[in-house]
């Protein structure tokens, strides 16, 4: 993610092994690590090359449409929980708290899958109940 200033892993140009972001020599072969591989280097007077995440909100999915779909045809209670998380995702994105927004996004995604799973189970039970009661005839 370009939005957080996470230290990027450094790869040795000699042997390819990954080293600690702040290492100056390769753990594996001892070769000097290329400082250029740590990312773009800026110097005064250089033309601005653009920041990958500049000027736009990070795209953190809120799974709102999947949640709506879940309340219509999968499993209503799980879909309702997913809508709650979708609202919280956008609330945290609006507040600039992208770390928490990402956590709520993961929860929303999980609950959409739970809704689908429970929906499939409920559909099987429902069809069985319909067939048993005779309300589901043939063609």
């Amino acid at each position: 993610m370009a939005y957080f200033d996470d230290p990027q892993p450094v790869f040795c140009t000699t042997c390819g092994r990954e080293s600690d972001p702040d290492a100056r020599f390769c753990d594996n072969c001892g070769a000097a690590l290329d400082p250029q591989s740590e990312g773009p280097q800026y110097a005064p007077g250089m033309p601005y090359q653009g920041d990958p995440g500049y000027g736009e909100l990070p795209h953190i999915p809120n799974y709102l449409v999947q949640a709506i779909l879940a309340t219509i045809c999968c499993c209503v209670p799980a879909g309702v929980v997913a809508i709650v998380y979708a609202a919280q995702v956008n609330g945290k994105v609006a507040a600039g708290d992208y770390v928490t927004a990402q956590r709520y996004s993961n929860n929303a995604k999980t609950w959409c899958w739970v809704a689908l799973g429970l929906g499939i189970v409920a559909a099987i039970i429902g069809i069985a109940a319909n067939v048993a009661s005779g309300s589901l005839g043939g063609f």
């Binding site: 779909l69 045809c73 809508i83 039970i125 429902g126």
Partner: protein, 149 residues
């Protein structure tokens, strides 16, 4: 899963299929015969369509009840009758279709349709509306049965 130079790489067999990027388009193609079936057979009559599991178990209408019957009316051009069966799913239908198109285009060709940022208050409002719809369409006092399928 392959282990190379001490690092573990996961290779999803599904995602490595050449047609994987067209999965939403294929899903859309698979939906066409289902829509043809909903067009040809009325879900309001006993037959091949199963009843809602929630309705079967509780006797109460869920927010999605009436969607199939509404879809049948919509495919026959009866917009008013479609809304009568389930206004919520009919309003959600264009949003779902747009999101599906967006998913299909972005996974197949990397093209993203404009997706506006939805204000959180709007989503909380939707939550309240869905819960209210769920309860009110089961109230047997006029005018609430209008909301029932």
């Amino acid at each position: 899963m392959a282990v190379a130079s001490g690092r573990i790489y996961y290779e999803s067999t599904l995602a490595s299929l050449p047609l994987w990027r067209f999965r939403f388009l294929l899903l859309g193609l698979a939906a066409l015969p289902c829509l043809a079936l909903v067009y040809a057979r009325n879900p309001g009559e006993p037959g091949i369509f199963p009843l809602c599991p929630f309705y079967t178990l509780t006797g109460l209408h869920c927010p999605g009840c009436g969607t199939l019957r509404g879809l049948h009316q919509l495919l026959h051009g009866n917009l008013l009758a479609a809304f009568g069966y389930n206004p919520y799913s009919m309003l959600a239908l264009p949003i779902i279709a747009y999101a599906f198109l967006n998913a299909a285009l972005s996974t197949a060709w990397g093209k993203r349709l404009p997706a506006p940022f939805v204000h959180p208050a709007l989503i909380w409002g939707l939550l309240a509306a869905v819960l209210a719809f769920w309860v009110l369409r089961n109230v047997p006092v006029y005018p609430f049965p209008v909301l029932a399928p």
